[in-house]
Subunit: 207 residues, 2 copies
């Protein structure tokens, strides 16, 4: 496997050297985007700023979006990790559900809005439904499903409504606090507003 | 009362002539905004396009925002009227709730997104929380409260949760379909997504 083989990065089979260069590009891109914005930057600008040739960057990333996605994935991993920490800390299914959304919302607000750059990338990713966002939502739904199943087992939650319908509806009503394009308009009402929404969700789950 | 007295428009005590001119300005502004956008237009542009002097327009409206608000009020009245028609048609409280949100969502999508102009004004009004939007939300909440109270009377809905908490939470979880800034990102999922959200809301109201 050559370090110059672009196909090697697609399946993740990269050696430590390539990992190092990829990370270096991602870090430099993050710094560059944070100063000039994601939307306005081209790969040529980026190459110039980093001091690599454009062709060399293309060996590691197909496009600017691929670099944005790498930053986006790192971010969404942190958001989900905050949600998962909440789930682990919660004692009951209801408590896990509260802490899951609290973790996600507060980490999203922190990552996407304290740093203008990351909002810029998050907005592009949400608007254009990047694969990183689709994967994030699928993982969030899987965690949510685990909480609902637990609550059904313990008798905390009702068992009549199909679980697919429940998970989809909860993500729909919570999207105003999860999707950065919508969360943007709710920042003044954190953390009270999502807490009230979760209370409504919990009432909808009552047996 | 003089036609040139700007205070006369503030309290609505205007004669038929003033009404006519106000309406003429609003209609002309709507046509102008729809071509050039609300954000980019100044009162001077508008005056030039309509053929009135800027000073004459200021006799009827304090600012561009006041003209935007007049257009916004007309729009939001239509949205609420669609919601109220739904409420009138519904047979049970649950049915009224469904039809209320269905009326609001479909009329909002129609008014704000078929016509780029109106989205532009709706976005400004929502972003800046214009009085017209605050009034709209207060009226929507009053209608919602009426539906909840009816459902409590008929035994369709639970009576434990404080009604203020219920109304606030329902508007919070439905905002992604009511607020044009958020509805924008849900247009592909109409009318299914809001229907699923309303189903969750109805489960939360179950006795």
């Amino acid at each position: 496997m050559s370090i110059l083989d672009p196909s090697s990065s697609a399946d993740g089979q990269r050696g430590p050297v390539e990992h190092g260069i990829r990370d270096q590009i991602v870090d430099a891109a993050e710094a560059h985007f944070s100063r000039y914005g994601y939307g306005k930057t081209t790969v040529a600008d980026l190459a110039k700023a980093i001091g690599f040739s454009k062709a060399y960057i293309y060996k590691f990333f197909d496009s600017k979006q691929a670099i944005g996605q790498a930053i986006c994935v790192q971010c969404l991993d942190k958001v989900l990790a905050a949600g998962e920490t909440g789930v682990a800390e919660g004692k009951t299914a209801s408590d896990k559900l509260r802490r899951f959304f609290n973790g996600i919302t507060s980490k999203s607000a922190e990552l996407f809005f304290q740093d203008k750059l990351l909002y810029d990338i998050a907005a592009h990713s949400a608007e254009e439904r990047w694969p990183s966002v689709i994967a994030y939502l699928a993982r969030a739904e899987a965690i949510l499903r685990g909480i609902i199943l637990l609550g059904r087992e313990t008798g905390e939650f009702e068992r009549k409504t199909p679980i697919d319908e429940i998970c989809e509806a909860i993500l729909l009503v919570m999207q105003s606090f999860m999707n950065p394009l919508m969360l943007k308009h709710n920042l003044d009402d954190l953390p009270e507003a999502p807490t009230k929404a979760v209370n409504l969700v919990l009432r909808s789950l009552a047996p």
